[in-house]
């Protein structure tokens, strides 16, 4: 499988290199759908220019990156830009992770089949090695050839770097190395706070891998949990202290984390925050900031309880929720969770809204630049048009994620209770959620 992957990487790098040298390379970094105040390359360059002038980059309100990651990026015109390398790294990491995960899934399925835990009529739901063979390549392809990823890469947005770190974290978790997983998770949290929610699925997966049951009374559970927590918190502290020593001030805490949490910049993007807080009554601003930020974090515990046997799907759900509900989302964040969709190919028969959702997503992606142009340049539309498309885009994403969740749960139900269900009178049954 190395050869198709290499071919895919070459094709992806070629596309990106071609776009870098075209005239689109000046247009794309200006698009608000692709870059946000948090990860725009222009702001990184501005922060470094401020450093050259002797002013701290966090003195103004223009630079919101954590410093050590952006300083090595200031190579003037390298032959391969770091964002292309980050994309390639992400694709390879996702490839290896999904490959390993598929092996785990297949092994578990084999044990369950041997133990005859599956009802006889759901054998068509069993996954075969043949169908699972091309899934890692498809995942890498979905990530590399996704237009959202390509746009994000050509814009040199640091979202590519964030995705690379999260992909490496997933790889280390799937491989079972808890130290590296903790370090990469700490790095991802250090860049933007939201990957904190990925702590629970990582912990669940590692426990599962070590055959430690999730039981409050077991000491082995607590031992491993404390071990992992300390590794994670320790790496996070080390990184924060390194940042402090780099610029000898704690300014970056309010400039980066304070900025992410308090949303002072209302530049339009594809998320829900900007227009909401542009039109918010001042009196309620703090309350709604808290509500919106808690909204990202509070799905973790219920989802972890429901999906504790399926941590990788939980990671997918968490990444999707972060991408939809974070304060400054961009299309690069969406590309990361969309890369996982080929891994759930087997759920296709249970998806209910996939056609509607994909059509809405395509239409909204096409309408974003049109309505932006009409508002900002033509002056014939106003901000409501762009906001409406934002709402629709986010509703479509929410429907996509909940659809996949429904399909996953339904397949699990069928695997335990049988595929063709009959009612007491023998007629065909339908399933409802009650």
């Amino acid at each position: 499988m190395a050869a198709p992957l290499t071919l895919l990487l070459i094709v992806a790098v070629t596309i990106r290199a071609v776009l870098f040298r075209s005239s689109l390379a000046e247009l794309i970094p200006e698009r608000v759908e692709v870059v946000s105040p948090l990860n725009a390359w222009k702001r990184v360059v501005e922060g470094l220019a401020l450093l050259d002038l002797g002013v701290s980059p966090y003195a103004g309100d223009v630079f919101h990156e954590v410093s050590p990651l952006s300083i090595p990026l200031n190579e003037s015109n390298p032959s391969i830009h770091p964002s292309i390398m980050a994309d390639a790294l992400t694709a390879v990491a996702l490839y290896l992770a999904v490959k390993d995960y598929n092996k785990t899934v297949f092994r578990k399925q084999k044990y369950a089949l041997e133990a005859e835990r599956y009802p006889l009529d759901c054998l068509e739901l069993i996954r075969t090695p043949k169908e699972m063979y091309y899934i890692p390549l498809k995942v890498a392809m979905f990530y590399l050839l996704n237009p959202f990823t390509i746009l994000s890469c050509v814009a040199k947005s640091t979202c590519g770097l964030n995705n690379a770190v999260i992909a490496l974290f997933i790889l280390c978790t799937v491989k079972g190395s808890s130290l590296m997983s903790a370090i990469f998770l700490a790095l991802a949290t250090y860049q933007s706070i939201y990957p904190l929610t990925l702590f629970a699925p990582a912990l669940l997966y590692l426990l599962q891998r070590l055959y430690i049951p999730v039981n409050w009374q077991r000491s082995s559970f607590w031992l491993f949990t404390t071990q992992y927590t300390f590794m994670y918190l320790g790496s996070l502290c080390v990184m924060v202290c390194l940042s402090f020593f780099l610029l000898s001030s704690w300014d970056f805490l309010s400039s980066v984390y304070g900025f992410i949490l308090s949303v002072p910049d209302l530049t339009p993007n594809i998320g829900l925050f900007w227009y909401f807080f542009a039109e918010m009554f001042e009196h309620f601003r703090l309350f709604f900031i808290c509500v919106f930020q808690i909204n990202v974090f509070f799905y973790t515990i219920p989802l972890s309880i429901k999906l504790k046997e399926h941590p990788i799907f939980l990671i997918f759900m968490q990444i999707a929720i972060i991408s939809i509900f974070k304060s400054y989302p961009t299309v690069g964040d969406i590309a990361l969770y969309m890369a996982f969709l080929p891994a759930w190919n087997h759920l296709y028969r249970f998806l209910r809204n996939i056609f509607l959702v994909s059509v809405v997503l395509l239409a909204c992606s096409a309408l974003f630049p049109v309505l932006w142009h009409l508002w900002i340049y033509a002056g014939s539309a106003n901000s409501n048009f762009y906001y409406a498309i934002t709402l629709l885009f986010n509703v479509a994403q929410i429907l996509l994620v909940s659809d996949y969740f429904y399909a996953y749960l339904r397949r699990e139900h069928h695997l335990t209770h049988g595929l063709y269900l009959k009612r007491k009178d023998g007629s065909e049954a339908t399933l409802v959620l009650k």
Partner: protein, 547 residues
């Protein structure tokens, strides 16, 4: 140019006269007339920290200065923009809008609180909206002076000057609105002019080398262009000296209708040797038999008007509401001398400047005209950008400095009542230390005002800018809150349902079309309540797979 000057001295009872001038013009279209009225008052404010003589100086200002420990204050209200290229160099320039510069004394403990209170008090004295001055338009760290923490400055380019500001200004004059110059100040005529500026300058004059105890010099100046039809027959009796200066350098033909003979004096103003005919109003002969002074000036078309050496222009380039560029053009009209200028820009926080895009195209003489940059970035909603650059100007050239910016979307409460009018950006200041080759003139008694030193400090203001920002829809706060919360609720609802409910086989096997049949039957059987309610109860469990 006509200058009317009245000089008051503290404690003297000299009587002086101020007269008015009337001008008529023959050649259409007439070049603009320029008039400047200046009053100067010297008084000792620091003696005993108490001022007791308020007959010449207004008590309101005196108390303000003492209370806030102000050492130097400059306030000006200007309407219009002085076109240096067409009208030459003015005496004292001020930017459009309201400008306030204050140096506090060392004894002030909290400068920010004193600044805030001072602006509010001054807005009351001058009937101007100086209370809009807050930290968002007061750049900190202006200049590289050592005592910059005692310096505060702010510009309100949106401030309009009108009769409301003129009336309290007139009241501050020693003679008030009764005699003297108050008669000249007809607001109806004033505000028809292309440029109008009124200013108050309070500067310390050092008495000893340590500058501990000194006089304070107060100057009011009124710089205006208008055509007046009023005559003034009486001067303010408190004035020590009162003169009318008519600049006749370019137009030597001045005739006086009242047959007074003017003195001709020469003075050097800003590198330019100019000739003035002086009418001394303390001399009764000036007034003649009609007891008034009238003047007729005939202008030729300004052919060889001396161009000012330093000139600045500024404009916004780009299209759309997302980003733009500020271009500042600095003209050096000196034929052979190159000199550096300091360009000071205060840009509000909602135009996010990108200092790495600052470009100044290289010319033949210098590789990079910008040799030094002091930049203080803005903080959202707290302080504006402060950009100071040292630009080397080659002789006889135009230097263009460009910087890109991004326009921010503000909260709906932060927009002005007319948001599509745009937001003003205050003028940038181009200042230079110019060398003068003209010898000092010792004849004129007013040489203090027309000082010609070996080098003199001059500054030029550029135009203020008007930029449009993208606006949200102001009628939508409730709708936006509802719609966004709906989307959040869609997410919450979907996930809640999938998390808290499990799959179950539905109990009753009624197919959808049978459900419809039953519904039709129930409409006809609506009188049979028991059956109807029973059926309604059963229908609630029917098979509808829903989200």
């Amino acid at each position: 140019m006509i200058l009317i000057s009245t000089y008051y001295e503290h404690g003297c009872d000299k009587v002086a006269h101020v007269s008015d001038t009337k001008k008529t013009l023959d050649d259409p279209p007439p070049p603009p007339e320029k008039d400047r009225f200046q009053e100067e008052l010297d008084t000792d404010f620091l003696r005993g920290n108490k001022v007791s003589h308020y007959q010449l100086f207004p008590k309101s200002l005196g108390q303000v200065i003492l209370k806030f420990s102000v050492s130097e204050l400059h306030i000006s209200f200007t309407q219009g923009y002085w076109r240096t290229m067409q009208w030459g160099q003015p005496f004292l320039l001020s930017p459009p809008g309201a400008e306030l510069w204050v140096w506090f004394q060392d004894t002030v403990t909290d400068v920010d609180i004193a600044w805030k209170e001072l602006t509010n008090v001054l807005s009351g004295i001058f009937c101007a909206s100086l209370n809009f001055i807050d930290s968002t338009n007061t750049p900190l760290g202006v200049g590289n002076v050592t005592d910059q923490r005692f310096l505060r400055s702010a510009v309100l380019p949106r401030e309009i000057v009108c009769t409301e500001n003129l009336t309290p200004w007139k009241k501050l004059l020693p003679c008030g609105a009764k005699t003297g110059l108050a008669v000249l100040m007809n607001s109806e005529k004033f505000f028809h002019s292309s440029f109008y500026s009124q200013a108050l300058h309070i500067t310390p004059v050092c008495q000893d080398w340590q500058c501990e105890r000194g006089l304070s010099s107060f100057k009011w100046s009124l710089f205006k262009m208008f055509s007046r039809t009023l005559l003034l027959t009486e001067a303010c009796p408190l004035a020590f000296s009162s003169k009318v200066y008519v600049d006749v350098t370019d137009n030597p033909q001045v005739s006086n209708l009242t047959l007074a003979t003017p003195l001709l004096s020469q003075a050097v103003v800003l590198e330019d040797r100019r000739t003035y005919s002086v009418y001394d109003l303390t001399n009764q002969a000036t007034f003649g038999q009609t007891r008034s002074l009238n003047m007729l000036l005939r202008w030729r078309a300004a052919e060889n008007m001396l161009r000012p050496l330093l000139h600045g222009e500024r404009y916004v380039a780009g299209y759309g509401l997302q980003k733009g560029e500020i271009h500042t053009l600095v003209y050096n009209h000196h034929t052979y001398r190159a000199f550096p200028v300091l360009l000071l820009d205060t840009v509000p926080w909602y135009l996010r400047l990108y200092i790495h895009t600052l470009t100044a195209p290289a010319s033949v003489a210098t590789t990079n005209p910008v040799s030094y940059i002091h930049y203080q970035p803005s903080k959202d909603r707290l302080q504006p950008h402060l950009l100071e650059m040292l630009v080397q100007l080659p002789p006889n050239s135009v230097t263009e400095v460009t910087v890109q910016f991004e326009r921010a979307l503000l909260k709906w409460t932060e927009y002005t009542p007319d948001p599509n009018h745009g937001f003003y950006v205050g003028s940038s200041v181009i200042s230079a230390l110019m060398h003068s080759v003209v010898a000092m003139d010792t004849n004129s008694t007013q040489e203090r005002r027309f000082s010609a030193e070996s080098s003199y400090f001059m500054w030029v203001y550029t135009e203020p800018l008007l930029v449009n920002l993208p606006t949200p829809d102001f009628s939508m706060p409730y709708n936006v809150i509802c719609l966004t919360c709906t989307v959040m609720a869609v997410g919450y609802g979907s996930l809640y349902k999938l998390l808290t409910r499990t799959f179950q086989v539905e109990e009753l096997g009624i197919r959808p079309f049978q459900c419809l049949l039953r519904r039709k039957q129930s409409i006809f059987c609506r009188f049979q309540w028991g059956e109807f309610t029973a059926r309604r109860g059963s229908r609630s469990q029917q098979a509808v797979i829903y989200l």
